[in-house]
Symmetry: D2
Subunit: 367 residues, 4 copies
């Protein structure tokens, strides 16, 4: 089995011309596409329709190319489209395709190579979101996917990309839950938080029995070092992608990851790049190495304690611009400065993704 990946700049959320060109040129086989991760230029919030626009275009295209229905497209390919291209960020997608067949014999490559698998949780009830039921079901599916990928050790898993479920409920159901003393948590904050804890449990970073409903979005000492979760209102089940390095996979891609200690943590960025074999120059990627860089995935956060490196920030008291837009802009700028690439994928916020005020970082590159 082998993963190929192509980074494609887009001219608008529905621009598929770059993808079509690569398909026409025979470089991407639509039958083999397994996931598409990208940034669209919306606000990343509740009224961001750029993801829907992009989805409609992708579903249309793959439905026509693969002669299957739109629903079958979304069962077959995971689309992880994140809104918010603040600052220098360039809207783009990375298309991952998988070919070959799995084998029980390690690949002849001398190094482990990128393995990628996908899974889905069962559908959640709104009252399960942000509670242990979500954590455990998420962990169960992640473990299953890791096993299927023939990854030797949890340390070889470097990115658990998730779109967390947020089942809808009525105003009345919400009021009833609130009055019962167990208010609904079916929102972005809790769905991301429980998903990240699910990843931490799956990889053995957090013990399931050491946490409870109360820990979620509260005990931030417990966190995942590889999760990257967004959440989508109306989504009934969580969509999961696992990326790691495996001896049983071939190809020329590899992935590495680090915890970000805060939004300015350039040493962790440098270390992640160096772990992929890049030699840095004055602390940044050399221009000649840029073409080897495929995907840069990170989670950002405006530190909820109100300071960064001991000094006050104002992101959380601003009623004109959301902290989600600011923190994406900050981390994207730093990543772009160190890598020289503005086509980076930063999603926010980062509950239980790395330490508070920090996040997670995963980078896919060619060997």
């Amino acid at each position: 089995m082998e993963i190929k990946a192509f980074k494609i700049l887009t001219r608008s959320p529905s621009d598929l011309s770059g993808l079509m060109d690569l398909v026409d040129a025979g470089k991407i086989n639509p039958e083999e596409v397994v996931c598409i991760i990208g940034k669209t230029e919306g606000n990343g919030g509740r009224n961001d329709f750029t993801r829907d626009l992009s989805m409609l275009a992708f579903e249309d295209y793959f439905s026509s190319m693969l002669r299957i229905s739109r629903i079958e497209v979304t069962d077959r390919i995971i689309f992880s489209l994140s809104g918010g291209c603040e600052g220098v960020v360039s809207p783009h997608i990375v298309v991952y395709s998988r070919s070959g067949s799995s084998s029980n014999i390690p690949s002849p490559e001398t190094e482990k190579r990128l393995a990628l698998g996908i899974g889905f949780t069962r559908e959640f009830k709104p009252e399960e979101i942000g509670r242990m039921a979500q954590v455990e079901e998420t962990a169960r599916v992640i473990k299953q996917v890791v096993d299927q990928l023939q990854i030797d050790s949890p340390k070889d898993v470097h990115l658990i990309q998730m779109k967390g479920a947020i089942p809808s409920y009525s105003f009345e159901e919400g009021e009833a839950a609130r009055k019962s003393g167990k208010p609904m948590r079916s929102d972005m904050v809790y769905s991301r938080g429980a998903s990240a804890l699910g990843a931490a449990v799956a990889l053995g970073e957090v013990e399931s029995k050491s946490i409870s409903d109360d820990s979620i979005c509260s005990d931030f000492e417990k966190y995942s070092s590889t999760a990257s979760c967004s959440a989508k209102p109306g989504l009934a089940r969580t969509e999961i992608m696992v990326l790691g390095n495996s001896s049983y996979w071939s190809g020329n891609l590899k992935i590495n990851s680090s915890i970000l200690n805060d939004m300015l943590d350039i040493e962790s960025i440098q270390k992640t790049l160096e772990g992929l074999g890049f030699k840095l120059e004055n602390g940044h990627l050399k221009a000649e190495d840029l073409s080897r860089l495929i995907g840069v995935y990170a989670k950002s956060e405006a530190d909820p304690r109100g300071t960064v490196r001991g000094k006050r920030h104002t992101m959380l008291q601003d009623d004109d611009i959301s902290d989600t837009r600011y923190s994406r802009c900050v981390l994207s700028s730093v990543l772009a400065a160190i890598t020289g690439d503005t086509a980076v994928y930063v999603s926010t916020r980062s509950e239980h993704h790395g330490p508070q005020g920090g996040g997670t970082l995963s980078i896919v590159a060619q060997i």
Copy 2:
């Protein structure tokens, strides 16, 4: 003559407690304060009242301490307050005070030290703004201040901080000018552009006779490498501060500057720091050196050609958030990551401040 400088974090635009503490402790003598440069947490636009709030508080305080009227305060001290603390930026002020007396004998210091002087243009008519009249008057005053500072060479000037005039005019005057074929340019864009060209002319970077009214905000090949100009609606004259290194000044401060080639230009940031004697670690300032860093001043810009490093950005097509806020956030994040300090001063946009899509950077530090 000697300049002292203190960086003070603020809790709100009208928070003077940090300044008052230093005055009470005898570290700052209000009689010697010559300018205050700071960032306040507004939007940096037309309806940013945080600067007014800050000014009212400063005028009140110095009027009471120095027993002079508010108008005398603003004639004596230059306040350069810039709105917009996007992302990690921490609202702060740097208070510069000047003591001792000028001398014709070079200071005994082995190195040149920070010299700082202020000046004011005459009042402008609205029709002069953004035209050669503004460029030339601005250049004249800068040259005068540079001379007074006993700076040997234009290369020793590292920051020309200006608040550009934007005289008001009525709707009817504007219509009349437009119909006459010479539309009013009395706005932020042109006032900043002409001020920067004035700085370039003063230091010999651009020849006055090589430019005309048409060059202003049009021929961006011509630019200043040390200007940092904001502009204020209603202001009749331009306020100017010149900072450079002089053999005739003493103290423990020095200034250095660079052109920024784009918003991600970390090599220029590194070079500016190294020129001040800092030894970097993994491309960034060492934590132990942070206390020596006094003031970081830069101009930012969302590249008007629509790309950064060859990839599309969306800052100029966004009708929810101004490109001014984005570009300040981008450059501030990069500066904060390299210096480890979130109390940085970035002002935008940068017409004729460095090359298009770039800007200027000046750093004041202790020896």
Copy 3:
């Protein structure tokens, strides 16, 4: 010939369920649909992708229902989707369908009935936009459509709904035009202004020879009383719909219009409703009459002179929220209060649409 119209609330920009239900119920025949006018919940600006999302969904649907290509769909049906559902505005569409065949014998109805026709200008060059070439071509097409509709008098035309062309040009072409002294006007402001003047010329409200390039977006004494024009970057030709009352048409719909003198002009709203036969109660539409109200179309504007009814407004100095969003919110709120209907269509700004600070209003209702 007869026009039928259905107002349908939408749950999102791509929600076609209401339309599909009416088609399934046999109330709307997709073959007869001639135009769809609606509001989507974007920002109405350059980065509003809700219109594209809606378009993609409509094109998909009609392409499938009518077994024609997407391009044929847009040649056959005009979609006038305007972003911006500020305040109480409810996202919605009004679907107009046309049936029967034209006749030279006046209809047996005692009153004139709603007639609706569409047309397209030729493709414009970017340098023609905002200049007389655009005015004259727009007027030519409008006159042609009015003739085809067998409308007796220009006074019977009550709405000229347009989507103005904004042909794209490169940064270099823009610079070249600027330097040649004839800067590009291919933007929303000029395209709307020239389109409205085209409508005024077509209906004899303004004489073509009394205006020139200089009049456009400058001499606001000249205006249309029935135009409603938005403009779309990238659109090469202007799309035009004409709605009026004709003796040769049948059905149960009628249209009326008024000039709005300012954004608070409730007397003009009342007069327009009364002209359609509504009896008002305490100055507003009676709840029992609400179902007869089909389409409410208006143009809004934040008065560029800075005051409304002699008092200062702040819409034009706000760098957090665009005046376009404010003025739509203001006029929509007033229309919703008088009609009791929040599914109103307000588009902004209104250069040459009614007097400065005012706009135009057209209402379609059942007899």
Copy 4:
């Protein structure tokens, strides 16, 4: 005792020129000023510094005019400055002054006249906010002020203007409270809600024993018909003004009020005006009566159930613009259209101020 009131338009949040002119002309005696209610052009949110700017200017002025300290100014005069001049709203203040002395003999006026009194609650602990302790202390102070004003019946009270306390607490205190199962409610939402219920209890609209901590911001069937409460982070005690009509007061002012059933409820606006003796024309105030209109105070709300008049609104799903700004814009526009005055005071949100989705309205006018 007699109340005089002056409506003054302002040119910026710190513009006192209109007030100064009236003082210089002898129309306002600074010694008699008892409160100033006004709108400033900020965002009305947490980072709205226009109120602070305005306060600093007022404190300065009155401190100098009355030769008292700034703190004494705020103990003597209540400043109720609300940020947010969305849409057509004109920034303004209304200055109320009180003269004469109280008497036990009814005034010779044939009608009751405007009476105005102020009071302060004790300082609250953060854990009391949004709970019955706040409701009861607020009710106690209101009753006391009503008694002092010699108002015969609760029906004669027409406006209880409050600035609700929001005592600060640390991140750690917040976490501790959350973990104890009694999370902090010391925020704008709960402080406004509990203040409004305090007003309802004080006037006998709600029985104290019929509500509990759980009712606050939950049981919206219980509400005040005269409250208008904003809340200010950091404020330790609630500031209260009571306005009503009393037989013991003289002057030429009167006040009336209504519940607003929703944001488009023009009948309640009309009824409130008619109750003050205005004869409306086509449902709106006649231009000739405009000068008699002194203060228009209302609370607005984006209906939390997601619809207005049965149709969906999008104010609560918008991550670019706050619902607080939208709902103020909507109600202000409607009030301005009916009264012809853009200097209206609308504050949002309206928890327990009138029915859900509605608000309260109070109007002060000359007889």
